[in-house]
Structure formats: structure tokens, C-alpha cells
């Protein structure tokens, strides 16, 4: 457990040293919320109706942003090889990175969500029901980001490829998460997120190991 914690702490310290990494997805998320009223008009009731879905789409798109740097830096400077030489399982590394991303990406997003909700005129009671789903859903999105980062490591194609891989797999989380007022949906959002979080470390671990040759 302490190894996992040390890896998470390393990731978070690196993230703190590079504020762009967690600020940019956050900025992107807020920009999506700012963009909507311009596109569909400032009518408050319409905005409120669209807000939960839009916040989720914003979160999903924002989660694509950190993917390209998630393992690329560690691969370039030899950290991945270093960890492999020390006998640290790629699955452990993937788990740590997923949890670090959840903290570094999900937490700021949760803090920004009330601001975005205010911009979109979302009722407080809907927001309060949306937030737990977003907290769970960002774990699922972080899991998918880690999988996408591990399988695209060294590939061309950039953000478009990442989006193509993540979007289809993120549909259940998006679908259940963006309906906080419907019975059963929050529980199913949590369940589909947890499933992704359970599968991702093994998939990403296998991909990282295969990538080492």
C-alpha cells in the first residue's frame, strides 16, 4: 500500500509543479459551460434543462486533455524502464496514475462544477444530486484516460485517436451520470464507473508491459 501511495504522491507532486496540467482541463470545462449560452441563447429555463448533460459532456471532453502526457513523459525520460527494473508491476503504476488523475483532475472539476452550474442557472437541488455522480464518474473517466494513454503510447493521431477510443467506452458513465433526478441512475453511474476502475489497471498494465517489448 505504501508503494502505491508513494507513486500517487509522486504524480501529485509533479502535477503541482506543472499547474497547466490540471488547470487546462478545468479551464476547458468552464469554457464549455460559457460557450453554451452563446450557442443556444440566454433563456434561463432552457439552460437549466440542458445543464446536467452539458456539464457531463464538458467533463468527458476535459478528461481527454491530460491523456497525451499521462505516460509519454515517463516513457521519454526512462521512468517507466526505471520502475520496471525495480520490479514494480505496471498494474501498480497504472492504478496509482488512475487514482492520482482522479484527484488531480476530478477534484478541481468538482470544485468548478458549482460555478459552471451557476452560469447555466442549474437549481441547487439538482446540482447537489449531480455532484456525487460527477465524483464517481470522474473516477471512470480517469480509468479510461489511463487505458487510452497506455494503448496510444508511441502512436500518431493525437487527440482525435484518444477521443475515438474513449468516447464509446464512456457512454454508460455519461448516460447514467447526467440523469441525477431519475431513479436508479446515480447507482448505475457509480457501478459503471467502478467497473471501469476495476478493469483499467489490468488493461493499462498489460498494454504498458506489451509496449516494453
Amino acid at each position: 500500500m505504501s508503494l502505491l501511495w508513494r507513486l500517487i504522491r509522486r504524480d501529485l507532486q509533479l502535477m503541482a509543479g506543472r499547474p497547466g496540467e490540471w488547470l487546462m482541463p478545468l479551464m476547458f470545462f468552464l469554457l464549455v459551460a460559457i460557450l453554451l449560452p452563446f450557442a443556444i441563447g440566454p433563456e434561463p429555463r432552457l439552460l437549466a434543462r440542458l445543464a446536467p448533460g452539458l456539464l457531463w459532456v464538458g467533463a468527458l471532453l476535459a478528461s481527454l486533455m491530460p491523456v497525451s502526457g499521462l505516460f509519454a513523459l515517463d516513457a521519454a525520460d526512462g521512468t517507466l524502464d526505471q520502475l520496471a527494473v525495480r520490479g514494480i508491476a505496471t498494474e501498480t503504476l497504472a492504478t496509482a496514475r488512475m487514482l492520482a488523475l482522479w484527484i488531480g483532475f476530478g477534484l478541481p472539476l468538482l470544485l468548478a462544477a458549482p460555478l459552471a452550474a451557476m452560469l447555466l442557472n442549474l437549481e441547487a437541488d439538482v446540482l447537489l444530486k449531480l455532484l456525487p455522480g460527477l465524483a464517481a464518474g470522474t473516477l471512470g473517466l480517469s480509468a479510461l484516460a489511463v487505458v487510452a494513454a497506455s494503448v496510444t503510447l508511441g502512436a500518431r493521431g493525437g487527440g482525435g485517436l484518444v477521443a475515438l477510443l474513449v468516447v464509446p467506452l464512456a457512454i454508460p458513465v455519461l448516460l447514467f451520470g447526467s440523469r441525477p433526478m431519475e431513479p436508479g441512475a446515480p447507482g448505475l453511474a457509480l457501478a459503471s464507473s467502478l467497473l471501469l476502475a476495476a478493469v483499467a489497471p489490468f488493461a493499462a498494465g498489460a498494454a504498458l508491459r506489451a509496449g516494453r517489448g
Partner: protein, 245 residues
């Protein structure tokens, strides 16, 4: 009964011989079954009492849906085999199956859309089944893109294998979620439930399904042969370069 010796097929040459022998048969039989199925379906089978003549697109639409899904399952099993046994042909068959399966999914989506226009009055509805087929199509595209966007081919195949397995774990969840969402928002749509199909329509459907299956197999075998040939060409040119240098 002895278990079939799959390891014998791990030898590309032996596989090649088998594929060369089987491909023309699969192709001819597939086209034959398809011709019979579509012939009966388009000209002999009765029109639907509710949907009229438009129902005949069923004989293309339903088999392509089945084998788009079956193809994904096959691709997932091949990926698992490639991961577990490092079976070189298994990982090659992921590459062979992916575009064929994607094409079948595309056929299913296009025919579904054409069918939807007269029956539902629109080219596209976010019906549960249509939507999950769309997601399946996107999963196929992801696998294909991943194979081609890695400069290192072997690496691309391994990564595509991981993605295919993750996708297949998620596929039931996606299907469930989409159906949950659909039944909530779109209570009634025209659907055929499997058991309620009249034999006059079931017979051509089965013929056409067998035709699609054999064609699928023939196309995959043809692609496998092309990919093996490509690999050998590469090895040969590398050897030539090595000899010259």
C-alpha cells in the same frame, strides 16, 4: 474425440495451405447461400402486414448485425489468444477481422437507416439497438485506427488487442445502458421479436445469414493470406538489405 490441434495452425505455412484450399469454397458457398436467401427474401417471401415491402431489407440488415457482433467476439477471442499464447496468427487475425466486422456494422447501420425512413419516418432514431450498433461500429474504428497509427506494427496489434478486450468487457454494459435509456425515453417502436417471425420469412433469413457467415469467413481468410504475404515480403526485403550491407 481428440481435441482439434490448433497449434498445428500456428504454423503460417500450414495455415496458408488450409486457407488457400478453403477460400474459394467459402466464397462460392457464401455467395450461393446469399443469392438463395436474398432471392427468396426479395421475390418470394410475403410482405409484412404492417410494413409492406420495406420489410425485405431485413434479410440484409439482420445477418449483418449478427455477424458484426459475432466478429467482435471473434476479434476479442483472437486478442486473448494472442495475449496468452503469443500466437502470431491470432494477433494477425485481429487485424484481418476488424475492417470486415466494421463493414458489416456499417451495412447494418446504413440498411437500418434506410429501413427507418419509411417505417419510423426518419433516417435516424436513437433506438437502443441502433445506438448500440453505432457504438460497436465506433469500437471497431478505434481498433482499426490503433493498429494503423502505431508505426511499430507488432506493437499496434498488441495495443489493439488490449482495446478489443476492454471493449468487449464494456459492450454488455453499453448495451444495457443504452436499452435502459431508450426504454425510458422512447416507449414504443416497431420491433420484431425473434420468435414471432413467420417461417416464410425465417427461411430466407436463415439462408442469407449462412451466406453472410461464409462470406465473413472467406473475407477474413483472404485478408489473412494477404497479411501473411505482406509479412513475408517485408522479411524478404529486410534479408536482402542485410545481405547487401
Amino acid at each position: 474425440m481428440a481435441a482439434p490441434d490448433f497449434h498445428a495452425l500456428a504454423n503460417p505455412l500450414r495455415f496458408q495451405r488450409l486457407a488457400v484450399a478453403l477460400t474459394p469454397w467459402l466464397l462460392a458457398l457464401g455467395l450461393g447461400f446469399l443469392a438463395v436467401g436474398l432471392g427468396i427474401g426479395l421475390f418470394v417471401a410475403p410482405p409484412d402486414y404492417l410494413q409492406g415491402e420495406t420489410v425485405r431489407i431485413l434479410y440484409v440488415h439482420v445477418p449483418s448485425a449478427w455477424f458484426a457482433m459475432g466478429g467482435y467476439l471473434g476479434m476479442m477471442l483472437a486478442s486473448l489468444a494472442a495475449m496468452i499464447w503469443k500466437h502470431p496468427l491470432a494477433s494477425l487475425s485481429v487485424r484481418a477481422i476488424a475492417p470486415v466486422g466494421a463493414t458489416f456494422a456499417a451495412i447494418c447501420l446504413v440498411t437500418g437507416s434506410i429501413w427507418g425512413r419509411p417505417t419510423w419516418g426518419t433516417w435516424w432514431v436513437w433506438d437502443g439497438r441502433l445506438t448500440s450498433m453505432l457504438v460497436l461500429f465506433l469500437l471497431y474504428l478505434g481498433v482499426i485506427a490503433l493498429i494503423h497509427l502505431h508505426d511499430d506494427k507488432a506493437r499496434g496489434l498488441k495495443m489493439a488487442g488490449v482495446l478489443a478486450v476492454v471493449g468487449s468487457i464494456n459492450l454488455p454494459i453499453i448495451k444495457f445502458s443504452v436499452e435502459w435509456w431508450n426504454t425510458l425515453h422512447q416507449p414504443a417502436s416497431i420491433r420484431l421479436s425473434g420468435s414471432s417471425i413467420h417461417p416464410d420469412m425465417l427461411t430466407p433469413l436463415m439462408f442469407s445469414a449462412v451466406g453472410f457467415l461464409l462470406l465473413f469467413a472467406a473475407l477474413v481468410f483472404m485478408r489473412m493470406r494477404a497479411l501473411i504475404a505482406e509479412q513475408r515480403l517485408e522479411v524478404r526485403s529486410l534479408r536482402r538489405v542485410a545481405r547487401a550491407g
